[in-house]
Point group: C2
Chain length 344, copies 2
């Protein structure tokens, strides 16, 4: 399989992308990686490593989309950027998946405009895996669609379930609908209608509404919401994570006594830090696109790049896209007030 990797546009580019790719191709002999970006810089960096030469190639792209670029405009105008070149290669079957650590909005736009949606998918969704107090959960949508209809949310539930089954090996992932109360009548118009639709899906293990605290407690394996709510949840969790880290520092780096304490609970602290470390969870797949497109964290280091490649390999091997297609056909939207136009 061939993974197209955007080598530019992130905090540690291209060093992290290259080191992570080298580690990945050394471990898995069934993958090839195409690094897309400024070839001179990439080749100079690659020369520092020993690795099976056939497994990594470079595709030159002189331009870079940065985080300051306006997404849709950048995709339209920066045709020679690593992101647009990479997405176009994926579209043209020159690879099996595309990974980028760059501008999230621009990657979503590239995926939508260049690669395109799976037939029948109304709205692709960004779906990170987040830590919970009892394991992990998929949060879908985490920011690709701010205004959603109930049919969109049902598709998110189906796509998220497929991912958790295929990639993370869950037998029957439970699906929770983000809401502000447990009862089915609670919430806003969108959640009340979605609740009824999710109840009637045969291929979704719907466990009811989940509140903010339930998400953290890991009450559902797939947490379904519109992109506004999802992005909010994601960012509050990130913010709390940062706050806790700072608190730990304040508590333990105060004086010699507290530093001794840090040594005594070293293992526990390390475990906790690992739990909160985004690098452990790979990137966020953009589900609903014709081929796998994955957004990894903008501050990804080599380890995060490696984790993402490993995750993408699994996405390809377990045919997440094909399974999503099959499962979406079983979707039951009979009672939806707002029905999707499948041709749009």
């Amino acid at each position: 399989m061939k993974i197209i990797l955007d080598a530019m546009g992130s905090d540690n580019a291209p060093e992290a992308q290259i080191a992570g790719s080298v580690q990945a191709v050394k471990e898995f002999n069934d993958i090839e990686i195409v690094l897309v970006g400024q070839s001179e810089i990439i080749n100079a960096e690659l020369d520092k490593y020993e690795y099976p030469k056939h497994a990594i190639s470079v595709m030159h792209a002189p331009d870079v989309i940065t985080n300051n670029d306006e997404p849709a405009k950048a995709v339209r105008t920066k045709k020679e950027s690593s992101m647009v070149v990479g997405a176009t290669m994926l579209k043209n079957d020159e690879g099996d998946a595309f990974v980028s650590m760059g501008n999230t909005g621009a990657l979503l736009a590239s995926a939508l405009l260049i690669v395109g949606r799976i037939k029948g998918v109304l709205r692709p969704a960004l779906a990170p895996v987040i830590p919970t107090s009892s394991g992990v959960a998929m949060l879908i949508d985490a920011g690709a669609n701010t205004d959603c209809k109930s049919a969109n949310l049902v598709q998110f539930a189906i796509m998220g379930s497929v991912y958790m089954k295929n990639v993370l090996g869950y037998k029957s992932p439970s699906v929770g609908l983000v809401n502000i109360g447990a009862e089915e009548k609670k919430g806003n118009e969108l959640t009340r209608e979605t609740h009824q639709l999710l109840k009637q899906q045969t291929n979704v293990n719907f466990c009811g509404n989940v509140e903010g605290s339930d998400i953290i407690a890991g009450k559902a394996d797939v947490v379904v919401c519109d992109g506004f709510a999802g992005n909010l949840v994601l960012k509050v969790i990130e913010g709390m994570g940062g706050y806790i880290n700072q608190t730990f520092k304040n508590i333990f780096f105060k004086n010699i006594k507290t530093k001794l304490a840090a040594v005594l609970v070293k293992d526990g602290l390390k475990n906790f830090k690992k739990t909160m470390d985004y690098r452990e969870y790979g990137g966020s797949p953009f589900l609903g696109i014709k081929k796998p497109v994955i957004k990894a964290h903008g501050s990804s280091d080599a380890k995060a790049v490696y984790s993402t490649v490993k995750q993408v390999r699994k996405i390809i091997l377990t045919d997440v896209i094909g399974t999503i297609q099959t499962e979406l056909e079983k979707m039951d939207l009979e009672s939806a007030k707002t029905k999707p136009d499948f041709e749009k």
Copy 2:
């Protein structure tokens, strides 16, 4: 001033309400408290304390609204419940504020249906003060209104600013609009329209959009959103708080070495726990109601009841309601697509 206190319907009722009230009237000689509930039980409990007898009286109400009651129905049918009796007393000027630790939905319904809105207020909002990494912030609305219009959010901004000025002494509280991006074009239809309206308010110190992580970082003193988003944020923070507490326990209660560590960082842990302790922040005012109605935590202990009474005293002394009325009249909704009908 006279504060009406619902003595029933919470986890530690009526003991916590009584112990907290006794502490409050001992400290402040300008307050009287009316405890509403089952008088026999309340009087028996009151007999255990020494306190200025004129400062606490009891109003008998035989029935109780529990957390299992359906809010609107309970308010309609349980006329002799402590909550309905208390709200009715407030309406009839038999007190200056009403505090309850009971069923949140029922309290909101009592406030709306019995006490009524301030003229011109479209939607009253539940507005807790939450801890941030740099202090506190008011989150408005935290769950009273699931579907909001931009004019509602502008009113929340104004009411929240008044509260932070009057009760917490902020000179010019900054107001942030909850959104999923910093740029003004980001977000959903509601936030884009609200952003434009907030920019033109002369009595709101608008600091732009705030994302989930910005809320935690304390970027705004008043955090404005619809009740769906607000409740979600509140519950994720609560969930993370619980998760962190559990993590601390796992880290420190493992063995003799880690228990020693806990002793060494005792002060730091205590400070952190205090920061995350809802009891430090009093109750959540229900802003937009004609007279002060405050919801305190269902698991309030004596200390939390005392904090809430102290906070309510300040709400009355600084005339939060009167100031809200004055400030709402300055509201500028010229460019709102959806304008409020002030007579509704």
